[in-house]
């Protein structure tokens, strides 16, 4: 039986990818940020997954206004790093896991979540920056990501985005789907985006350190309450783009202490927690939870 062993949460700021691609990680501006991921890179080696289920959002890259799926699961064999206007990031092609992804798609739709199934798409920084942060710099040709990745894109571009509660419920459905897959494999589920940031208007540059950290406390220790946070709180307190945080609730909802919408199991182990301001316009948060 497949099993979710851990969840990883991290921001996915494009400038972080650029800093890695341009060899700037040891500059004074970036050093403290990357130091927060030293533990994580070693942890990835010590806890290597067979598959990563990676929840992220597409930033008007694969999905223009032609098509706006609320939840989209990638069932392709591979995904190329996208050209977002600066040229594609020089990172390895992302290999998918079509069998497990198709299995999850069928199971989750049978649990009443309407997923869009995607067999062809490029992946943007929302997906590749978390991989880079957790795996370090890799040669685009000679190296490979450590395992296959199932991209799971959530619409957080056009309002209304799915509520935190719906994301939390979806995470539980994804766990059921994964646990009904016969092969004995170890799956990580990652939630990415956030934390507080606003990229637009006179309020651009908003950071709310107190709110972010209170939200992190709740995500870890009281996820049911965290899931109940209304949209408007994210917008008002964490900035218009801070609403990306709802994606973290998909990963949190998939952890084994959550059953039927309640916390009934043993709390996950907090392996790592990190917070840093700024990365470009954004507050960076990062947490690793292990099922116990």
């Amino acid at each position: 039986m497949a099993k979710i062993t851990a969840s990883v949460f991290t921001s996915h700021v494009p400038a972080i990818g650029a800093a890695m691609d341009l060899g700037k990680t040891q500059e004074d501006y970036w050093k403290p940020l990357f130091a927060g991921y030293d533990f994580s890179k070693q942890w990835m080696k010590d806890n290597k997954p067979d598959v990563i289920f990676l929840v992220y959002n597409d930033h008007a890259t694969a999905f223009s206004l032609d098509l706006i799926p609320t939840f989209a699961i990638g069932t392709a064999a591979e995904y190329k790093p996208a050209d977002e206007g600066w040229g594609p990031r020089p990172v390895p092609v992302v290999k998918g896991h079509p069998e497990l992804a198709s299995h999850i798609a069928q199971s989750v739709i049978q649990q009443d979540f309407d997923l869009t199934i995607v067999n062809k798409m490029d992946v943007d920084h929302g997906l590749t920056v978390p991989l880079s942060l957790m795996c370090g710099e890799l040669d685009p040709v000679k190296d490979a990501w450590p395992c296959p990745v199932i991209p799971f894109a959530v619409n957080v571009v056009q309002y209304p985005v799915p509520s935190g509660q719906r994301c939390f419920n979806l995470g539980q459905a994804i766990r059921k789907a994964i646990e009904s897959y016969d092969e004995d494999i170890n799956v990580h589920i990652w939630g990415t985006g956030g934390m507080s940031h606003q990229l637009q208007g006179a309020r651009a540059g908003l950071i709310n350190r107190d709110w972010d950290n209170a939200w992190l406390d709740q995500l870890i220790n009281d996820p049911v309450a965290c899931a109940a946070t209304p949209h408007i709180d994210y917008v008002r307190e964490a900035g218009s783009e801070g609403i990306e945080l709802v994606m973290w609730l998909i990963a949190r909802g998939a952890m084994s202490d959550v059953n039927n919408g309640q916390v009934t199991g043993k709390a996950p182990k907090l392996a790592h927690r990190f917070y840093h301001v700024p990365a470009s316009n954004t507050a960076v948060g990062h947490v690793i939870l292990e099922n116990t």
Binding site: A15, A60, S64, D83, A202, R203, N281
Partner: protein, 145 residues
């Protein structure tokens, strides 16, 4: 029945909802086209001619030509789409975001290094934080006024 829009009282913020998306369809699709290198070249060679290929309003075209991102957003642009214009111009996300505040690039960068913009006074329209309409433009541009 009116739609539920609880976010219209947040200062300095336009939420890209169904209405904005409808209004901004063509400006955003124009931006999307800039993800192809050959389109970036054609746009740079003759911006006006390239814009005229799109069913954008004249105001949207003027807003793009002026590189006024706040104006682009008022006409329905979304920041993730508008970012493709910035990328074409060789600008970072920080330069783009900063340009919407009236601050110089250095002033905005320093604000971020010092922990970012404070939430105090910036939750609701009518307070007196630095993102409120009565306090624009920000930075040295505002002090001169």
């Amino acid at each position: 029945m009116a739609l539920d829009k609880p976010y219209t009282d947040v200062p300095g913020t336009i939420i890209f909802d169904a209405e904005q998306s409808r209004k901004g369809y063509w400006i955003n699709q124009f931006c999307m086209s800039l993800m192809k290198a050959e389109n970036r070249e054609r746009f740079k060679a003759n911006e006006r001619a390239y814009l005229d290929e799109w069913a954008m309003t004249e105001e949207q075209k003027q807003a793009v030509l002026a590189r006024d991102l706040n104006w682009c957003m008022r006409t329905g642009g979304n920041i993730y789409f508008l970012a493709k214009i910035g990328a074409t111009d060789g600008k970072s996300f920080q330069q783009m975001a900063g340009s919407m505040t009236g601050m110089t690039e250095e002033e905005y960068r320093n604000m971020m290094i010092q922990g970012g913009r404070s939430i105090e006074g910036n939750r609701y329209i009518g307070e007196n934080g630095d993102a409120q309409a009565q306090n624009q433009p920000q930075g040295s541009a505002g002090k001169k006024a």
